[in-house]
């Protein structure tokens, strides 16, 4: 008899399953679980510049055997996914998600979206959790448990501590690259001035093992994080899944697409489609934990509760990129060894309204290759190539996330006819204006940091790949919501352990909180079942 069936092997699913398995319960994890489809990968651990100068087959992973890595057309959601990671966004033959104004990148991969994520893990503060029925204090033990499990590096006691709160389990910070150190030095020299303008900067917290941790790492600073996982230093949910699979009371059931559930006397029956055989199967368990991403969990819940025509709220951080030149650093030497992830994290709150603060992440541009920039440059390609070679070391991408709150024009709805999802996502005019105004103000301050913005790229709604809010957690007893313990209202035995339960989205990346909340839901369920 299965005590708990968990749907999804992403960041949420594996951390919900962990405490249940540790409590000795029989747990099955149902997953579509697409695997890396054998796309060519970099050969062994080698540094980016070394591969570039020596490997005759590099075009196979940099461009893809079918040249799928070439970015023609508009910048779209998932532009960061390189050919070796394209399988993460592979669809399944199923009723589609449709929208005119929102690009939802859903993953059916083993390990979900975090098989290719950027690993920035800012925790939510009490301000971020305003309107939630749980506090930072309640989440703290789960943040700590996840930090110990996955390995998080960073510094305590810097200017970002007021945004992050303390963490007792940090690994040493990652080595900063030349742009990152330059920016932080400039910032620290005039910290009071920047604070007066509402800018706070520091080293990011990253799910990156800077020393050996749980059999992984340390990070070798090969600058290949977008292409492969050679040193296993960036956390991927599949590592936790591998640990779970070594436990006798855990079963992994891949190639299964969960469709609906039905509560019955003493348990839950989940109907799944076996993608290998094409047949329908039924899995019986004592309890069900939905952790297959906010949109999929919302869809399964709405279909199972006969609420297909009811619109569900949908949240996603609006996202903008700013290519910038660090012009004050021009001509300075650049260190070759570095990682490709976020170098500096910033929070910008000029109007002292921390709920509306934006998050800006600084990446140095190198390992995604020059040709991707050519399209965005106004210069002739021939001249752009020559110039970029000389200025590339001083080139940064500033990725800006804004918070998101539920609204009557940001909704998803399950189609009754085929079970697919329609999304309509239109922020209000005042939300859009506030976003532009804040970005303009940020650019003025960035200029004082020596950053010259060269353009603004808006990849469209949904492109942050942060989705939440479809079955929000609340104290109010409303249908299609979740209790503070994670139980889906209208059910007795179904729990929500992914972003679906987040009632709001601060500008911070949500995945660390997804994992901590999943751990919380799993742990509470384990405790109640063990009583």
């Amino acid at each position: 008899m299965i005590d708990v069936v968990v749907i999804g092997s992403g960041a949420s699913g594996v951390h919900a399953a962990w405490p249940l398995v540790k409590a000795g319960l029989q747990v099955a994890l149902v997953d579509v679980g697409h695997r890396d489809d054998g796309a060519p990968k970099p050969p062994g651990p080698a540094h980016f510049t070394q591969l570039r100068s020596t490997d005759p087959d590099q075009f196979r992973y940099f461009l893809g055997d079918d040249f799928q890595g070439l970015p023609f057309g508009e910048v779209r959601v998932g532009a960061q996914l390189t050919p070796p990671r394209a399988y993460i966004a592979k669809a399944i033959a199923d009723a589609a998600t449709r929208s005119d104004d929102f690009q939802a990148m859903q993953s059916y991969a083993l390990g979900g979206l975090a098989a290719g994520w950027g690993a920035a893990v800012p925790p939510f503060s009490d301000v971020d959790l305003e309107g939630w029925p749980i506090s930072r204090q309640q989440l703290q033990p789960h943040y700590d448990a996840v930090a110990r499990r996955i390995g998080i590096c960073g510094v305590s006691g810097d200017d970002l501590e007021r945004w992050f709160g303390p963490s007792p389990h940090l690994l040493p910070p990652a080595r900063q690259d030349s742009n990152g150190s330059w920016l932080l030095d400039t910032y620290q020299r005039r910290a009071n001035w920047f604070h007066g303008r509402g800018l706070y900067a520091g080293q990011p917290r990253l799910a990156l093992t800077t020393r050996r941790h749980a059999g992984r790492g340390p990070c070798r600073n090969l600058d290949m994080e977008f292409w492969g996982d050679e040193d296993r230093s960036v956390y991927r949910p599949v590592y936790t899944l591998d640990q779970l699979r070594r436990q006798p009371n855990f079963t992994y059931l891949p190639e299964r697409h969960a469709e609906v559930f039905e509560e019955q006397e003493g348990g839950v029956a989940v109907r799944v489609r076996n993608l290998g055989t094409g047949t329908s199967e039924r899995i019986d368990a004592g309890h069900l934990v939905l952790a297959c991403g906010a949109i999929q969990s919302g869809r399964i819940a709405a279909r199972s509760l006969g609420a297909e025509d009811t619109p569900l709220p949908l949240l996603s951080n609006p996202y903008t990129y700013f290519p910038c030149l660090l012009w004050t650093r021009l001509g300075q030497p650049t260190r070759n060894r570095r990682h490709s992830l976020t170098q500096v994290m910033m929070y910008f709150d000029p109007h002292r309204r921390p709920q509306q603060a934006l998050q800006a992440q600084v990446y140095s541009y190198r390992s995604l290759l020059t040709f991707k920039l050519l399209k965005e440059s106004h210069l002739p390609i021939g001249d752009a190539l020559r110039i970029l070679q000389h200025v590339q070391s001083y080139f940064i991408i500033l990725g800006v996330h804004h918070p998101d709150y539920p609204g009557t024009s940001k909704l998803m709805q399950v189609r009754r006819e085929d079970g697919g999802v329609d999304i309509s996502y239109r922020p209000t005019i005042s939300e859009s204006r506030r976003r532009t105004k804040l970005e303009n103000e940020l650019m003025m301050v960035m200029y004082r940091l020596g950053c010259l913005p060269l353009g603004r790229v808006d990849p469209g709604y949904g492109s942050s790949i942060h989705y939440a809010g479809t079955l929000p957690m609340t104290e109010e007893n409303r249908p299609l919501t979740t209790t503070p313990q994670g139980r889906l209202r209208g059910t007795q035995r179904v729990y929500i352990a992914d972003g679906a339960a987040f009632p709001t989205l601060p500008s911070k990346g949500l995945t660390y909180t997804l994992m901590a909340n999943a751990d919380r839901v799993g742990r509470q369920l384990a405790t109640s079942l063990s009583l």
């Binding site: 461009l63 002739p380 070679q389 000389h390």
Partner: protein, 139 residues
């Protein structure tokens, strides 16, 4: 292979060589040429009819810089510009040309000279290029 297919392949190989000379002042090797031809034949995004006038004009190495400047200035997302970008990507992902793409350190003085030179080039190439592209391009 039919005669027509052979001719098309030959034209693509020549196009690749012209682009390499223009972008890198270098000759591509046979693997790069083959890769370019295969990419054009595989990717619908870079394909066009035989009468694409910008690509026909790009057969002249003299016109190439003007066409590049004109299409960039007008931000014209056309097969010519896409193919030039494709060629750049193929050359970049080849160890032979790595030193032409990997970042290099340069003094500020040299950058200033480069900036000035590019500015002067643009002052000539862009207006003439825009005229040329407008005359040739039919959306």
């Amino acid at each position: 292979m039919t005669m027509t297919a052979n001719r098309a392949l030959h034209a693509l190989s020549e196009e690749c060589r012209r682009f390499a000379r223009y972008l890198l002042d270098a000759e591509p090797d046979s693997a790069e040429v083959e890769r370019y031809a295969r990419a054009v034949q595989t990717l619908p995004a870079v394909q066009c009819g035989p009468n694409e006038r910008l690509l026909s004009a790009a057969r002249s190495p003299l016109l190439l810089p003007f066409l590049d400047a004109g299409t960039s200035y007008l931000r014209l997302d056309c097969p010519f510009r896409r193919r030039l970008m494709l060629a750049a990507a193929i050359f970049e992902a080849s160890p032979r040309h790595a030193d032409r793409f990997l970042p290099c350190e340069t003094s500020i003085a040299r950058m200033a000279v480069m900036g000035l030179w590019t500015g002067l080039r643009m002052a000539v190439l862009v207006p003439l290029g825009v005229l040329l592209v407008k005359a040739l391009h039919r959306p």
